[in-house]
């Protein structure tokens, strides 16, 4: 502990990563205990960067209430659990967000039979949500600012929210839009439900680490940037070996043929190569877990590269 997280991680031989146990597309384990999801892939990316091996990671399933203590106490080295970056969390929970891995926003899911097409029509609605998240607060802000009465029914666990919503206890189910897509899949008839277009909050989700360990912070931060940069550079899991030899100086720096960037942050120089080799680039991760071809079918939207109409943008490696 005293030596700094990076050294600790290297010593014990794996990254301990806090994830969501039951959010399809972000963090979920199947029957065999295989984990998948964007957040999970990010953990693997960090493992790849450090060890050159995406499997050197252990997952701690965390619920909303425990996640911050788990990180603060050192139970996990890294929190990658669809957590919204807010100022108060930076300032008063002792966290440092390394960046944004997914631009999300809070939305509403309703039954199609309600005949509602906009969140602004939800005046007087009963809304189900999970307690202990920013969603409860956003919800209150949204309805108050639009002067609409509402009633919130807040459950401890996702499963309960969904069961109550399905039973008809509330008109709307609110959480981050990505979560809504994931939860909708679990309903008996997903097609009977729709997600309203309004996004009522900014929910930049990102990995977080403990405050006060800059070295570790840098490693995790640049792992995220490497994923985005790779997409920009057109480097994929499949083609990186072949492009490794290309003449593009940017790629050369990326794969570690040129420069000493890896050792600068306490890793090997081929760290970024390992990341892509291990988990693919950001786009690949997105597509594999939540993209249009998956059951969730979420469009890239804001999460597209800045060059393609989105706002994902990473500082260059140089």
């Amino acid at each position: 502990a005293s030596a700094g997280t990076l050294e600790d991680v290297k010593a014990k031989g794996f990254v301990q990563c806090g994830v969501n146990p039951s959010l399809i597309g972000f963090g979920v384990a199947d029957e065999k205990g295989e984990w998948s999801g964007i957040d999970v892939s990010f953990c693997r990316a960090v493992a790849s960067a450090i060890f050159g091996d995406p499997t050197k990671v252990k997952f701690s399933p965390l619920n909303a209430k425990e996640r911050f203590t788990a990180l603060q106490s050192g139970e996990v080295d890294l929190l990658s659990r669809n957590t919204t970056w807010t100022m108060s969390r930076d300032s008063s929970l002792g966290l440092m967000f390394v960046g944004v891995s997914y631009y999300d926003g809070q939305g509403f899911m309703v039954r199609k039979s309600l005949g509602v097409s906009s969140a602004l029509e939800l005046s007087g609605a009963k809304v189900c949500t999970q307690t202990g998240t920013t969603t409860e607060l956003n919800l209150a802000d949204y309805f108050r600012s639009h002067n609409m009465p509402y009633e919130v029914v807040a459950f401890e666990k996702n499963e309960e929210v969904l069961q109550a919503y399905e039973a008809g206890r509330c008109d709307a189910y609110t959480t981050d839009a990505s979560g809504l897509y994931a939860e909708r899949l679990k309903l008996t008839n997903p097609d009977d439900h729709m997600i309203l277009p309004e996004i009522i909050s900014k929910e930049p989700l990102g990995p977080a680490v403990r405050q006060g360990d800059d070295k570790w912070f840098t490693v995790v931060k640049w792992t995220l940037f490497a994923l985005i940069n790779a997409e920009e550079l057109g480097l994929t899991k499949a083609n990186i070996d072949e492009k490794k030899t290309a003449d593009n100086p940017e790629i050369k720096r990326f794969v570690g043929v040129e420069g000493d960037f890896g050792t600068g942050i306490g890793l090997t120089n081929d760290w970024a190569y390992n990341v892509i080799k291990g988990v693919g680039n950001y786009g690949e991760i997105f597509d594999a877990n939540v993209g249009p071809s998956t059951k969730l079918g979420i469009a890239r939207g804001l999460n597209n590269l800045w060059s393609k109409g989105g706002i994902q943008y990473a500082p260059p490696i140089r």
Binding site: S22, E66, T69, S73, E75
Partner: protein, 446 residues
């Protein structure tokens, strides 16, 4: 008095026993006595019978007649108006093992099997080798289960010896252990000398403890070639049983200590025990669990962390210990003063009196109470679902929302299944408690 002369009477022939009127015996007599003994009772009987029918019909319809028994996904149950047993069938392995890797589940099976094999003769009053058996259950079994379930091979690295003498690893740990043991034995020896006890005696006691510790470390540190399985992947009945059994095994000695503490003549010890017991009994388990899951990490120095399951276990064990202490105290109180005095008069010391005379008797008396409190504990394990552990109930709840099987009846089927499992466990335990209670009564009378 002469008026009475006429009443003199001597029976000439005896009246033999006659058969009771039909209204007294057989099914009719039974029904008359138990169901129709008065007009009100007759009405009640009819109402009760109707009530039973009214309750049972929907239950039977839902669980049996309208139930779906086969199918591969939710399509089978989507339209069902009865239980979706197909879903339970599909998920049964998960309900038992959680996400424990499939190719490693034999390890869990062994643990279950060992428990059954060791526990059954323990529960049968007449079965021999009770002491050995208990020893196995309280020492070998937990250790073996720990290694089997987690994979063992925990990284013992040692703490304080400088790296340049010997690097972190089992060797450093062993060295440090030996060093510490040596110091402890030395200190104890000195202390014993000072107290005028025979040094060899206290030394050997400490030696046994340290030796046992060494064995424990050797076993949990050794590499048996088992794949490690994180507790995060444990789930279902496995977690339920781990929480319940560990809570029980850990709370017993703790409970004994607390109970003795509560009866101690030393005010400080007594007050501390009473405070602990009453605080634990005064608050809901779930706040204790919250505390274990949210607050315990705050209590620990930076970098020291506990596994989440372990934290829940600590919370449960401490909580249970308080209840156990009260049960055991009841047992201690039932031991007559004469037993204490008899033991004192033959020259036994306090620890000897407790170990040889009082506790064996007290614990026997409280077996029903212990089983009773084990039932509560077993039911309470479901609360760990609230702090995000996947016990049987948590696992069922999580799976009911699995996209593959979600249907209107899936959730309720899961709950019914969980209810049946818990009921079977708890009911048999309560029967067992009643059985031992009767047996104790008899042996006390006889």
């Amino acid at each position: 008095m002469s008026t009475m002369a006429s009443t003199a009477y001597v029976r000439s022939e005896m009246v033999g026993p006659q058969k009771a009127p039909p209204s007294m015996i057989g099914p009719i007599g039974w029904a008359r006595k138990n169901l129709f003994s008065s007009p009100i009772n007759s009405v009640l009987s009819i109402v009760a019978a109707l009530f039973i029918v009214w309750c049972l019909i929907p239950v039977i319809r839902f669980t049996l007649i309208d139930a779906v028994w086969t199918g591969d996904d939710r399509a089978a149950c989507a339209q069902a108006s009865g239980a979706c047993w197909a879903y339970v069938k599909a998920y049964l392995p998960q309900f038992i093992y959680g996400r424990y890797p499939i190719d490693q589940r034999w390890r869990v099976d062994i643990v279950f099997l060992m428990l059954a094999v060791a526990l059954v003769p323990m529960l049968i009053p007449r079965a021999p080798f009770k002491r050995l058996n208990a020893l196995f259950l309280l020492t070998v079994y937990p250790l073996a289960s720990f290694v089997l379930l987690t994979g063992g091979h925990i990284g013992l690295r040692g703490r304080f010896l400088p790296d340049d003498i010997v690097g972190p690893g089992p060797v450093r740990f062993a060295l440090e252990f030996a060093l510490v043991s040596f110091v402890i034995i030395l200190l104890v020896g000195l202390g014993a000398r000072l107290l005028g006890l025979r040094a060899s005696q206290s030394g050997s006691a400490i030696g046994i403890v340290l030796g046992a510790l060494a064995v424990v470390f050797m076993v949990v540190g050794a590499d048996f070639g088992l794949v490690p399985v994180e507790t995060a992947n444990w789930g279902g009945l496995l977690v339920t049983l781990v929480v319940a059994v560990t809570g029980m095994v850990a709370s017993l000695p703790l409970g004994v200590i607390l109970a003795l503490g509560r009866r101690s003549k030393m005010p400080v010890v007594r007050i501390a025990s009473v405070t602990f017991i009453e605080v634990c009994r005064g608050v809901p388990l779930i706040t204790v669990l919250f505390m274990a899951s949210v607050m315990l990490p705050l209590f620990l120095p930076e970098g020291v962390t506990f596994d989440k399951l372990l934290r829940a276990l600590i919370g449960v064990a401490l909580f249970q210990a308080a209840y156990m202490a009260e049960v055991i105290r009841g047992g201690l109180q039932s031991i007559s003063r004469g037993q204490y005095e008899g033991a004192m008069a033959i020259g036994l010391s306090y620890p000897q009196r407790m170990r040889l005379i009082i506790l064996p008797q007290a614990l026997r008396v409280v077996i029903p109470g212990i089983v009773g409190s084990f039932i509560s504990l077993f039911k309470d394990t479901t609360l760990v679902a609230i702090i995000g552990l996947f016990d049987l109930l948590g696992q069922i709840q999580a799976s009911a929302n699995d996209a593959k099987w979600a249907s209107p009846v899936t959730g309720i089927t899961g709950y019914i299944f969980a209810a049946m499992v818990f009921w079977a466990f708890c009911f048999s335990m309560s029967r067992y408690a009643a059985f031992t209670e009767r047996r104790l009564d008899r042996s006390r009378r006889g």
